[in-house]
Amino acid sequence: MISCVSPRTSGELTVLGLDPDRDGPRIRARLGVVPQEDNLDPELTVRENLYVYGRYFDIPKMALRERIEQLLGFAQLTERGGDRVEPLSGGMKRRLTIARSLVNEPDLLLLDEPTTGLDPQARHALWDRLYRLKAQGVTLVLTTHYMDEAEQLCDRLVVMDRGRIVAGGSPRQLIERHSTREVVELRFTPGETERMAEKVSDLADRVEILPDRLLLYTADGDAVVEALGRRRLEPLSVLARRSTLEDVFLQLTGRQLVD
């Protein structure tokens, strides 16, 4: 809807101060879109992909050629510029898709799960590029299932569950509001977990029982670990860590699989 491809079903929507129903082409001229599935042309070269796409925006040829070289540098693809897209790795294709979305120097960049399916190196390389864009003042709107990605990149985020916004704020705020500062994870011998849950229930603000471990939500993880020692409870493993967005997300949307 934001990219003016789906008509809105109801409600109000303005994008960059314009009405998507009326000003679709004008809005899209200032928008960059990184779709979930790459739609690069595998037959064309890296450079040609950028060129063809830039021409959809009616960018003059000379200016476009210059811009393409900058984008290739930005995406670390200069050496592959003349190669066809098909044999490129997933990470390279993703970087090219992002470079392509920047060809019109957008004010607003929409990214749909930009790092899904990438290896850690490729993800970090992409995050780094996105950081730079943010620093340049480009607004990034991104959807992701990776909470670490949201934590890394987002100033403001909303958690959606079944199409509804269930919470919103900065990553820190969300953690403060919907989880405790720290979490202690305890593993016991299988079968003992539930019995142990009763013994520790008073140590934490909230105890969550999972098939293989207990999660103790608390402001002070070390204090809980000490208390466990005093009670001579000896779990197979103890892990005290800070709350993450993942905890918030699971707390808000539940642990059940949504298909």
Binding site: V5, P25, P35, D41, E48, Y56, D58
Partner: protein, 259 residues
């Protein structure tokens, strides 16, 4: 040229074609040559000696069959360019979606692709005309009009077939469309023998499909036997089918691409 949004979309197809044009141009000349040799000269040498020759309107078989083959080349080119490539642009390479993330609108994308298909049809008919001239099968000055008429015959196939292709989820129906649609039309639209040889029932089917109109008009142009009412009738029919196809394609494209 690319001030017109639709032509920016066309430029994409030109560019992908540019990668394979050499091989493709060769075949567009090879095919007409082979057909005119086999049908016009080979088969023709038997038919021209037969007593029943008057059915062909005292034309040599080469003269009879060549303009009709040009018209059917338009139809088959149109069919192969407007089914699989449309599906590809929706489902496989997703080219349409890439275009729609830019200022281009659905109408531009559709028009841009059809302009490209029209260019392919014109090339196919044009190369037929050149080969025909080389074979001495273009007796009249009006033969040159086979180019626009052939093009129109092609669009009468391309527009409705693109409309149809945009409704399909898989390409399974396309080969069926060739086997049960295009090939029968090719065989029974008066290309190889006059329609008067067919039983009335089958003749009516030929009259309502676009290929016969293209075949008859091209043949009359090549032999200088075109009449004003005949010309008007055929043109009106082909323009009508093309226009209906365009309208349908506008609807099916919007339904498919704006979700």
């Amino acid at each position: 040229m690319a001030r017109v949004p639709a032509l920016r979309a066309t430029a994409y197809f030109v560019r992908t074609y540019a990668r394979t044009w050499r091989a493709s141009i060769m075949t567009t000349f090879v095919n007409p040559t082979l057909y005119l040799l086999a049908m016009g000269v080979g088969l023709g040498s038997f038919i021209d000696k037969s007593a029943n020759h008057a059915v062909l309107g005292h034309l040599s078989y080469l003269q009879f069959v060549a303009p009709a083959l040009a018209a059917s080349a338009a139809a088959t080119t149109a069919a192969s360019e407007s089914m699989f490539p449309v599906m590809g642009a929706i489902k496989w390479q997703k080219t349409y979606y890439a275009m729609l993330a830019t200022p281009l609108r659905v109408g531009d994308v559709l028009a841009g692709h059809l302009i490209w298909i029209a260019a392919r049809i014109a090339t196919a008919v044009g190369s037929y005309l050149i080969v025909m001239a080389a074979f001495g099968a273009t007796a009249s000055f009006e033969s040159i009009a086979i180019l626009p008429v052939g093009l129109l015959t092609g669009t009468a196939f391309a527009a409705p077939l693109a409309a149809f292709a945009a409704t399909q989820d898989t390409d399974g129906s396309f080969s069926l469309m060739f086997r049960l649609g295009v090939v029968p039309l090719f065989l029974f639209s008066g290309v190889f023998f006059p329609l008067s040889q067919l039983p009335v029932g089958l003749r009516v089917i030929a009259y309502v499909t676009p290929l016969w109109h293209g075949v008859d008009l091209c043949r009359r142009l090549a032999t200088g036997t075109v009449t004003a009412p005949g010309l008007a009738g055929h043109l009106a029919y082909l323009v009508g089918v093309t226009a209906a196809g365009l309208l349908a394609a506008r609807i099916t494209y919007r339904r498919r691409l704006l979700v």
